[in-house]
Every structure is written in structure tokens, then in C-alpha cells.
């Protein structure tokens, strides 16, 4: 069965691009536009990976990660954060909150797939 990935980003452009690439690579992709929406989607079933942006309205990526790690169903699911090179402390903040790894924007489809494969068993 195809692995299920949840892509969380407030930018539709980013969601479209991530979704397209992952679907083409054979993943099953769901989308959410902020942390709150993501938590809702997560209750709908089992996911194998979460990819999330950090800066989002309503609930940002860091809070999402903390919530997921504090929950039960997806606490052991790998979480990739999307950051930019200039975000500086963001990688550390994400890791401290419980992120598995990160992906630096802008990234190309190959980098996305490679990073997903690095953390998704």
C-alpha cells in the first residue's frame, strides 16, 4: 500500500508542488493549510510522514510538531520541516520540538524525494 504523507503549508503553491512530486513518486498525499487543519486531517487515519512549513497562521509548524509528538496516534511518525537557508535557528527550533529532519527551500523534486526516503521507513 502506498505510503501516506500529509503536506502542511499555508501556501497553495507549495502544497501543489509538494503534492504533485510526491504523488508522481507513488505516495498517497493529503494536504492541510495550517497546523490546526493538519491535526484535523491526522485524526482521519494513519499517516507515514508529515511535511510541514513553519510559518503558518492559526497554528505554526512548531506547535503542530509539539502537538503531534504529545499525542498518541502519530507520535512516532517522522516529521520533515520546510525551512529556508536564512531561517537560522529554525532548524534547531524544529528539531527541539521533535522534527525528524528538514528540507531547505527552494528544493527540486529529486531533493524532496531523496529527503522523504531518508526519514520514511
Amino acid at each position: 500500500m502506498a505510503k501516506r504523507i500529509l503536506a502542511v503549508d499555508d501556501s497553495k503553491t507549495m502544497r501543489d508542488m509538494v503534492s504533485f512530486t510526491l504523488k508522481k513518486a507513488g505516495f498517497d498525499v493529503a494536504e492541510a493549510e495550517d497546523g490546526k487543519a493538519a491535526l484535523n486531517v491526522l485524526t482521519s487515519g494513519k499517516f507515514d510522514l508529515i511535511i510541514t512549513d513553519l510559518n503558518m497562521p492559526n497554528m505554526d509548524g512548531i506547535s503542530l510538531i509539539k502537538n503531534v509528538r504529545a499525542g498518541s496516534q502519530h507520535r512516532a511518525v517522522p516529521i520533515l520541516i520546510l525551512t529556508t537557508e536564512s531561517d537560522g535557528t529554525k532548524k534547531a527550533d524544529g528539531k527541539a520540538a521533535g522534527a525528524t529532519g528538514w528540507l531547505v527551500k527552494p528544493f527540486n523534486p529529486e531533493q524532496l524525494i531523496a529527503t522523504v526516503n531518508r526519514v520514511c521507513p
Binding site: M14, N55, D60, S63, K95, A96, T100, G101, P121
Partner: protein, 684 residues
């Protein structure tokens, strides 16, 4: 994501389009939040929202290779980041700078969208000012983001490394899987693995989430130390790691402990309005279908009226319920197309700022009612008239600071921009506290142009309305700012094209207020239903001035021009609908029918001769272009309750048709009019 050559079928153009659509929304949000900030709202959530807008614009820009945009938004973002972290104080200067930066960002986004290069020094001054503000902050500015070029992954020849790797429990909690790391190492070369399970407790004592194992790897590889370190990139803070090269003098390369930084405060605002994006075409189709449904319902209702209610009580009830549902459905569907005027209002502060700076005036704009909703098509066409009215208020209304102080007014002028819904229409007002309309000057100018007879003494209201006359403003604009070859007459025409009305109230020395009244939608028109012979026409109510039945003495024929109607000293051309559209059996004598006086910008006042008035009605507009072909003098069609098609008159064009009709008719006897058409039929 940047595009790579082998990503065939990657619909980058589509993503790009989405991105720029998103940019427009982000820029609008940025603008409104910056206005809030400028107005004194320094809430964290506002600052975060401002940051996010720029951050998102930058994020996408990188993916589409918009380097100018990345560079500019990077500095902008750094400043905003420092601001939200309170490392840079939100002074008045900084807020002004942010507003200017937002304007520049909008220009750069636009240039990127159109793929137009910008001059290298574009907004250089703003960039420099932002850098300066950042210099004063606790953190030095970060250099402009450049894709870090990784060092060579190949280290020249094969080497052997020993890697000691002891995961912390924390690493497993973050879902980093040692097995995956080992697989990655395997890809780099020949890997020998030795596991140390000494720390593993007895089965019953095992915490399934704790880390007990550690590994020592020996890796023979041509890959560089960097490449090996990269494998552990995600986990270096959550493990003990030691990598050493065995075939050179040992040098401890990398150790890492854990260094969890402080967590970012959570931002939980009010719940968002859930929304989806829908193609406008789909909505339009829905609007059309609902239009059809309403028409069918009206037909049913009319049929239902002729039934005896005591014999078909449930049928009549059903028809009534249907009417109710259809009306609610129509309102709901119209509401889908409705958008807040915010998107148009949000552009105005920039115009005010730029123009005020050019004119050396101090002006603030206060907006209210931004969330008032109006049909999307109306919104799209609202920008130009509104812009012009704002420019006009700034240029002609608000006085220079010195003059204002001398008049005992505050130094800074105020423009109020408001929107509100009133009785099925939306009213937009642009008011200023400037000098108001100088009626003496306006009257003098109008007299000089022959727009008002010398010696006439028009009312204040009439004088104010002179500024909407085409000849008044276009020929000689008082300044070149609000002029630009466009006058208030164009504003009026644009507004009327939207089915709207414009009016002005002014008090000399105290300011002017322009009021736009617009229909909520263009898909429904308030019309006067009139009959001509067997035909029914709709005349848009907004165009109608009055209805009357003239005396024979008031009708005067003018050779080659048709008849005119003398009305209170004015001569209005008469349009005979039955002639214009060749309808038989109509009342030819205006004294026995009705003359409807309509006003349009292009034709002025015209009298339309019809048989009788059937009543007022809201009608659903059906496009003739889409369903048939464009017809002169007709703006659309509708289907009446009795199932018949009625044409909606385009009052601005009617006059020409009737004149043409009259001209071709005049030399010919009445009966010969249809002959050309018959000839053509035979020829075909």
C-alpha cells in the same frame, strides 16, 4: 522548488500562476496589516502575520528563480523578523519604511510575474534603509540568501573511516530511524557494522521508546567527510557521534551534544474562515443555472395563479415553497460571487501616500466597511473610478499643510473611504476635509465654456454636478495629477456602466463627499417592463428620469433627425421603439402612448416612445453575445414569468439606431421597409 531539466510533465507554469495569484493575496494582506501597524496596532499576531506574508512570497520566489524578488524579500523579511522579535523598535520611521518596502515589493512581484527585468538600483534606497534599521538591531543582518554550494562530496581517493554512533532516546522520539541512517551509509561505500548491545536491559525492563544500542561502523569510501556527516545531519544533536579517518593521522572530526534552543511561542488566533478555491467559470455557470431556475419558477408561479386554490392546495403550496427556495438559492449563489471590497480598498493607501508625497501634502486615509461584499465583476471595475476619486480628493480637495493651518484645520488632511450596504445596493463614499468645491470658480469656468448660459443662476447642487460634465474637466485640468486626461465625467461613465450612480455633496471650506451607489450584482437588473406592440422590453431603472404623456404641441419634427420633444425649455430627441425594431401594431403617436425620459452619458437625455408601462421587476440578465449575437441598442435579454423573452435596452445606444432607422425610412414609403430583408432572403 527549482525546476530541473529531467522533471518532465512538471506543470511549472501552472504552479507559477498559482504562486502569483497567491502573491496578490499576500500583498493585500501585507498592506492591510501594515496599515494596522501604522495605525498603532502592534499586537504580536499582526507582526507575525506581516512577517508571514513576506516570508511566503520569498518562499515561492526561490522556487521560480525570481532572484530580485528573493533578494528584496529577504532583507524585508529579516527586518520584519527583527521587528516581531522586538529587536528593532516599531518607530514611526520604521513603519513608514515598511509601507514603502511593501509598495516596492508589489512592484517587484509584478515585474517578476511579467518577467520584466528591473533596473539594478530599483528600490536601492529602501533596501539600504532596511539594512540600516537592521544594523541597529541586536542581531546583525543575515546576508542575502544564496544557495550554499556544497563542498565536493568526493575526497580524492578512497579512505577508511571509523564512525561511532550512539543514538539518544531523544533521537528515536523524533522518529529518526537508525536503520535508515545505516542504509544511507551503505550507499557511500563498503560498510562494516558492529553493534554494541551491552546497555540493553532484560526484556521486562525495556522501555520500548528508549535507546539502548550503539554502533561502530567502518566505512571504506571515496566520499568526503562532509558526505558522511550529511548522513547524520538530522540527528547530530541527538546522538553521540564520532567520525575519524583511519588512514591519516587521526583528528577528531565531529562530536555533538544536544543543544535544544528555546521554542517559538505558539500563535493561536481566532479560527479561520474555511475556504476553497473555485474556478470563476464554474461559479458563473452556477449563477446562470440558478437564473434559469428562477425563470422556470416564475413561470410556474404565474401558471399556479390561474389554478383554483381550493382544488390544488398542495400544488400551490409546493409552488410557493419552490419560490421561497429559489429566491434563497439565488441569494446564496450570488453571495458566492460576492467579495469584500477590501481588495480594492487595500490599494488606496498606497496611492494616497505616493500622491501626498508628490504634492507635498500630509494626508491620512481612513477606511471603514472593508468587509462589505459586492459582486466580483463590480469589484474588478471599481478600482479605476475609486482611484480617480481619491486622486481628485487629494489633488483638489486637501490643501497644503500651511494653508490648512492658516484655516485652523489640522495639518494633516483626512480622506474617509467607506463602504456600506443600503437597501440592496452598496454605497461607497469618498470624503475629504479639504477646501470643498469652489462654486464661484466652477460656475465661472462652466460659463466660459458655454456649459451654462451667462446670467443663469443655477442651484448649488446643479453647480456641484457640473464637474461631472465631459467638457468640464477634460479640456483644461487644474493640475496634472488627477487630470491625466481623465475627468470626473469618465468616473461617472464608468460608474454608470456598472449600473451605479454618483453624487457629490460639498461645503466650501469644509470638504467634499462623493457617494457611489452600486448594484450588488450585474447578473440582476431592476427594470421597467414596457410594451411596444406585441413585444415587451426592459428599460434599466437607473437610466429612467421620468415618464410622461406629452401634448401634441410639444412634439416637433426636425428634418433628417426625427422628432423632438419640448420639455421645460429643452428639446429631447424621441426614439420610437417600434420603428427602431420594426414592430407592427404599436402606438405610433407619443401623445397616445408613454414617453420615458432616460439619461445616458453617451446620448444625454432621450425620450423613448412606448405603448404602456407594465411594471417594475427585477430581471435576470442573459447575455445576447453568449446565446445569440450582439445586437445594437440591446444590452441583454431576460425571460419573463410568462416564458417570453424580453430584450433589455441599452439606452446609450438607442438613439443611433432610431436615427439610422429613420434615415433609411424617410425617403421610402412605409411598406417598402422590409423589402431589402426579403431580397436578401431570396438571394441566400
Amino acid at each position: 522548488m527549482s525546476v530541473t531539466s529531467d522533471s518532465e510533465a512538471y506543470p511549472i507554469a501552472q504552479f507559477r500562476k498559482t504562486y502569483f495569484e497567491e502573491c496578490a493575496e499576500l500583498l493585500d494582506a501585507l498592506q492591510s496589516n501594515l496599515e494596522l501597524l501604522a495605525g498603532g496596532d502592534e499586537e504580536d499576531e499582526t507582526l507575525h502575520a506581516i512577517f508571514r506574508s513576506v516570508h511566503s512570497i520569498k518562499g515561492g520566489a526561490g522556487a521560480f528563480g525570481c532572484t530580485d524578488l528573493v533578494a528584496f524579500s529577504h532583507i524585508f523579511e529579516s527586518l520584519l523578523d527583527a521587528l516581531r522579535e522586538h529587536k528593532v523598535p516599531a518607530t514611526r520611521d520604521v513603519k513608514q519604511l515598511l509601507l514603502r518596502a511593501s509598495d516596492a515589493l508589489a512592484d517587484i512581484v509584478n515585474a517578476a510575474r511579467l518577467e520584466q527585468p528591473l533596473p539594478g538600483n530599483f528600490a536601492a534606497e529602501i533596501r539600504a534603509a532596511m539594512q540600516d534599521s537592521l544594523q541597529g538591531s541586536v542581531d546583525a543582518p543575515v546576508a542575502v540568501a544564496a544557495q550554499s554550494t556544497p563542498e565536493s562530496d568526493v575526497a580524492g581517493g578512497e579512505h577508511t573511516y571509523r564512525i561511532v554512533f550512539r543514538p539518544h532516546t531523544e533521537m528515536l522520539r523524533k522518529a529518526n530511524e537508525p536503520l535508515l541512517l545505516i542504509r544511507e551509509l551503505c550507499k557511500l561505500g563498503v560498510l562494516t557494522t558492529e553493534v554494541d548491545s551491552a546497555a540493553l536491559p532484560a526484556l521486562e525492563a525495556i522501555d520500548p521508546e528508549a535507546a539502548y544500542l550503539s554502533w561502530t561502523f567502518t566505512l571504506e569510501t571515496v566520499a568526503s567527510l562532509n558526505a558522511i556527516q550529511d548522513v547524520f545531519e538530522f540527528v547530530e544533536d541527538d546522538c553521540d557521534l564520532k567520525i575519524e579517518q583511519l588512514d591519516i593521522a587521526p583528528e577528531p572530526a565531529e562530536t555533538a551534544g544536544s543543544d535544544p534552543a528555546g521554542a517559538v511561542p505558539t500563535a493561536t488566533g481566532p479560527a479561520p474562515a474555511q475556504s476553497i478555491r473555485v474556478d470563476v467559470d464554474k461559479v458563473d455557470r452556477l449563477v446562470n443555472l440558478v437564473g434559469e431556475l428562477v425563470i422556470s419558477q416564475a413561470m410556474l408561479t404565474e401558471q399556479g395563479l390561474s389554478l383554483p386554490a381550493d382544488q390544488y392546495p398542495t400544488l400551490i403550496q409546493g409552488i410557493e415553497a419552490l419560490a421561497q427556495s429559489a429566491r434563497e438559492l439565488q441569494e446564496s449563489v450570488m453571495a458566492i460571487r460576492a467579495q469584500p471590497v477590501k481588495s480594492v480598498f487595500a490599494r488606496m493607501p498606497r496611492i494616497v501616500r505616493e500622491l501626498a508625497a508628490t504634492l507635498g501634502k500630509e494626508v491620512r486615509i481612513v477606511t471603514s466597511g472593508e468587509m462589505t461584499e459586492i459582486d466580483k465583476t463590480v469589484i474588478e471595475q471599481l478600482n479605476d473610478p475609486l482611484t480617480h476619486m481619491i486622486r481628485n480628493a487629494l489633488d483638489h480637495g486637501i490643501e497644503p499643510p500651511a494653508e490648512r493651518l492658516a484655516d485652523g484645520k489640522p495639518r494633516q488632511g483626512t480622506i474617509l473611504l467607506s463602504a456600506a450596504q443600503r437597501s440592496g445596493r452598496i454605497v461607497i463614499e469618498v470624503s475629504d476635509d479639504g477646501r470643498g468645491i469652489n462654486r464661484e470658480k466652477v460656475l465661472a469656468k462652466a460659463q466660459a465654456r458655454g456649459l451654462v448660459p451667462a446670467g443663469a443662476s443655477p442651484s448649488d447642487e446643479d453647480i456641484d454636478n457640473l464637474i461631472f460634465l465631459p467638457a468640464f474637466s477634460t479640456a483644461d485640468v487644474i493640475s496634472n495629477i488627477s487630470g491625466r486626461g481623465v475627468g470626473m465625467d469618465v468616473v461617472k461613465r464608468n460608474v454608470q456602466a456598472l449600473g451605479g450612480r454618483i453624487s457629490v455633496r460639498s461645503k466650501f471650506g469644509q470638504g467634499s463627499s462623493f457617494s457611489l451607489s452600486l448594484p450588488l450584482t450585474l447578473a440582476v437588473v431592476d427594470g421597467m417592463v414596457v410594451s411596444v406592440g406585441d413585444e415587451t422590453f426592459i428599460i434599466p431603472l437607473v437610466a429612467i428620469v421620468e415618464n410622461l404623456r406629452p401634448q401634441a404641441a410639444d412634439i416637433h419634427p426636425i428634418v433628417g433627425r426625427g422628432d423632438v420633444l419640448a420639455l421645460r425649455g429643452e428639446y429631447l430627441p424621441l426614439v420610437y421603439l417600434h420603428r427602431a425594431f420594426a414592430i407592427g401594431g404599436a402606438i405610433a403617436d407619443p401623445c397616445r402612448g408613454i414617453v420615458i425620459i432616460v439619461q445616458s452619458e453617451s446620448a444625454g437625455r432621450v425620450g423613448i416612445v412606448v405603448d404602456e408601462l407594465l411594471g417594475q421587476q427585477q430581471v435576470v440578465v442573459k447575455s445576447l453575445e453568449a446565446n445569440y449575437e450582439p445586437v445594437d441598442g440591446i444590452s441583454g435579454a431576460t425571460i419573463l414569468g410568462n416564458g417570453r423573452v424580453a430584450l433589455i435596452l441599452d439606452v446609450g445606444r438607442l438613439h443611433e439606431i432610431d436615427i439610422r432607422g429613420t434615415d433609411s425610412r424617410l425617403p421610402l414609403p412605409e411598406t417598402s421597409r422590409i423589402e431589402p430583408a426579403e431580397d436578401m432572403t431570396h438571394a441566400a
